[in-house]
Symmetry: C2
Subunit: 355 residues, 2 copies
């Protein structure tokens, strides 16, 4: 079965110079895919020609006349630029013309436009951003929220746990994945007011056998892979993720500097180059690129804004796999089954965006 | 001038097996130091004898009959174990018999007992934990709070900024260090309610020339060294720090595994061993061990509970340097000068601990 994916070609720091080569490479590797390249027709066509792919049988262009920049306010993204590549790419999902969408654009705008166009799944107040993080075990840690919701109430974190659980069950085939609540200590008495109240909700669901709540986890547990899922508010998640990315770059820079500091060290690096390549590969953030916007009535994947073509291709692959696993109906079904109170009222802010 | 430091020998995962050798080594390297080893006399003496240091001229034992464990509640630490090594070590500072104290014990207990015994500096509602973090520049990043305050109001973060500024001015000789407010984006509109309201206070002080507020910083800026100081609430700070520690261990484990994966890689590692040692040294968390409890009427330093003797010695060194720089009076003077409203009321919880 062919899976169709819409690509917001204009989003991200590099735009079509990254998104188009990534799409070409993915389409070449995945014969069951068909990619619709959304954005400024001339620019995309020029990029396709550069790679001699203007006649690729499974790549087509869908013109969109506007581009949402990193500086555009949500107001501009939502109300003014109605023909933006981002919005058109999402609308193709809404209309059933594609099964998923990928964008490297402004995260806030992507979330707002996705909510506006697609709406949320019944039972979900607020969509969340979930990504995979490498850890010391074989399977990655799924962490959410990573920045969509910076002020959360306990019921929101509870919903993140349910959505994360549904995602891991659907894509990883684990029926009751373990859920950790990110905190400053393992003991129940630890933490701020938000996590203490969230833990009560999760413990109640665990007692009923609905969720597999492991308990509190700490920052280090993310990379130890203590639980399948780590739940936190979007402020903590975003800061933690960006700090980890910063430390990763610091580590890489230190390694490079030291190995280039003398001929002797360079010789060592040359001999052990496979080990170094393997380290670089295991910790390469590009391999983990492609965050899911969970809780929407459509599959939307966010690539890192600064991703290169290799990283962007991973984001497309994640969108393809999710659509291939029929992730959306599985998440909706799991949420309908797990979420005890689908009629939690939506707060003023969300209504404003949703309407 | 001799600097006297009290050492809570019983605290931490390893107790006297780590604290005593660290104290011996520090005393041997620093002729202007005198260390008072607080804890169970017999155990400390046995450890000193093991290292043939029972007659060291600048090491003495001060017996304390009780030990605060990692599992003890604050209630137990504060009300029951009045002769704990931790409390006695802090009391020596209070009584002017030592100029600083070092403990690797339970952070919550250390903060509570320190507040109870020493009280806070006028103008400070809540003490904070501040540590040094390595970054890509030459000078480390000072980050606070790291876990003392998990529920904060804007005036608390504002006070952390003032205390951090005073600390860096005193110990690093920079009169107006830059302050970054940890957030999910650089723009003023980004962030949760807490940081937006804190930013207003910091911008006002910047406009008056009181503080050098850089603006919002993101997680990656901690390791890029964008600002001298990074301010955040204790929940975010603790999670970020522990996640970074976890990622550091993951890096190290990955590097070790790959370099041991074949004889060829082992040969490369052998040839480049200086580079690898240098990487390990630059990123070694032990070198950055020793967090300050800022805002108290006495100098208290916290070592990581799992620190080895090398790491613990760094914590003693930081306490020694702080006392040597007369950090306490400098911080108090700076805070008296900078803090516009010293009479902010203390909330119920803190009063309970302070009384």
């Amino acid at each position: 079965m062919t899976i169709k994916i819409s690509i917001d070609c204009m989003g991200g720091d590099h735009g079509p110079a990254v998104t188009v080569p990534a799409a070409i490479s993915f389409a070449n590797h995945e014969p069951d895919s068909e990619l619709i390249l959304v954005g400024l027709q001339d620019v995309i066509l020029a990029e396709l020609k550069k790679h001699k792919a203007e006649n690729h049988p499974r790549l087509s262009i869908h013109h969109a006349s506007e581009v949402i920049t990193m500086d555009d306010s949500l107001e501009v993204a939502l109300r003014r630029k109605k023909d933006s590549s981002m919005r058109v790419a999402i609308t193709l999902v809404k209309e059933g013309r594609t099964q998923a969408c990928v964008s490297a654009g402004n995260t806030g705008a992507l979330m707002a436009v996705s909510r506006y166009v697609l709406k949320t799944i019944p039972g979900v107040d607020r969509p969340a951003i979930c990504t995979l993080i490498p850890n010391q075990r074989d399977a990655p840690t799924f962490m959410l929220d990573l920045g969509a919701n910076v002020d959360c109430e306990p019921q929101h974190l509870h919903q993140f746990a349910v959505m994360g659980s549904a995602l891991v069950a659907a894509t990883e085939g684990r029926s009751k994945p373990t859920i950790g609540l990110l905190n400053v200590g393992e003991e129940d008495i630890k933490g701020n007011d938000l996590v203490k109240r969230t833990a009560e909700l999760l413990r109640a669901d665990h007692a009923k056998g609905i969720l597999n709540f492991y308990g509190n986890v700490e920052g280090n547990d993310i990379f130890e892979g203590t639980t399948d899922i780590v739940v936190c508010d979007g402020f903590v998640g975003n800061v933690t993720l960006k700090a980890s990315e910063g430390l990763g770059r610091f580590f890489k820079a230190t390694l490079t500097t030291e190995f280039k500091s003398s001929l002797w060290n360079m010789l060592g690096a040359l001999i052990a180059r496979r080990a170094l390549r393997s380290v670089s590969q295991r910790l390469n953030p590009s391999r983990y690129n492609g965050a899911s916007l969970l809780g929407l009535r459509g599959l939307v994947f966010k690539s890192h804004g600064s991703a290169d073509a290799y990283g962007y291709e991973w984001a497309i692959k994640r969108a393809f796999d999710a659509a291939n696993h029929d992730l959306l109906s599985r998440i909706s079904a799991t949420i309908a089954e797990l979420m005890p109170h689908p009629e939690i009222p939506v707060s003023g802010t969300e209504t404003a965006i949703n309407e």
